[in-house]
């Protein structure tokens, strides 16, 4: 069974530029999560989708971050404009249904200069 796919794996941008990350969850998984992991920290939930709908986005900086999940499958996370403190690994995870076990993708390492 294929795991969670993410792209790109690495991205370097200047501050105030925009960037987008893509995630394809495990086939059949209804719930999709985006986490931010700053170096030396555990992952922090940014947004959770159940099929197409948002379940929790309480920790998403909505002035610069946005996310969507079209047709209940793939998802994109966008940052516009980026700040230096956005440098982190962005992890996507999926689960069959919540509250099942979450399975993580390899992450996208973002560096903002």
């Amino acid at each position: 069974e294929a795991g969670v796919a993410q792209s790109p794996r690495y991205k370097i941008i200047e501050k105030r530029q925009s960037v987008a990350f893509w995630c394809n969850p495990i086939s059949g998984h209804a719930t999709l999560y985006w986490y931010q992991q700053i170096l030396g920290q555990g992952p922090k939930l940014l947004i959770q989708f159940q099929n197409n709908g948002v379940v929790d986005d309480s920790q998403l900086p909505k002035d610069r971050f946005s996310a969507e999940r079209l047709k209940g499958v793939d998802s994109t996370l966008k940052i516009q404009p980026a700040k230096l403190e956005d440098s982190a690994v962005y992890l996507c995870a999926s689960s069959l249904d919540y509250p099942d076990t979450q399975y993580f993708g390899p992450g996208t390492r973002l560096t903002v200069l």
């Binding site: 999560y33 555990g42 929790d56 992890l91 919540y98 979450q102 993580f104 993708g105 390899p106 390492r109």
Partner: protein, 111 residues
């Protein structure tokens, strides 16, 4: 607010030297406690879920236990390939089941 504290932050062991990692938590209405392993440059890999105090689970050289306030990850006779960061996370039973993670313990096993 849910809190998860892991100790120690880093642990160095010799191959074959058994030890334990600690995860202390404060959460209202625990639904589950999760252990993940994370290798450098990779996403967290699921290890165990524990649901109630007294529960234990084992996988190869790892055994996880749970009390009402903490969980332990016991590593028996570790090998160099067990070197990784081990993350603990909790989820509530009455919300959206989001995971709150600790900062992790970096384990290094020397041959």
């Amino acid at each position: 607010e849910d809190q998860v504290t892991q100790s120690p932050e880093a642990l160095r062991l010799q191959e074959g030297e058994s030890s334990s990692l600690n995860c202390s938590y404060t959460v209202s209405g625990l639904r589950g406690l999760f252990w993940y392993r994370q290798d450098p440059g990779k996403g967290p890999e699921f290890l165990f879920t524990l649901y109630s105090a007294g529960e234990e689970k084992e996988k190869e050289r790892l055994k996880a236990t749970l009390t009402k306030k903490e969980s332990f990850l016991h590593i028996t006779a570790p090998k160099p390939e067990d070197s990784a960061t081990y993350l603990c996370a909790v989820s509530r039973g009455v919300s959206n089941y989001k995971l709150t993670f600790g900062k992790g313990t970096l384990l290094t096993v020397n041959p």
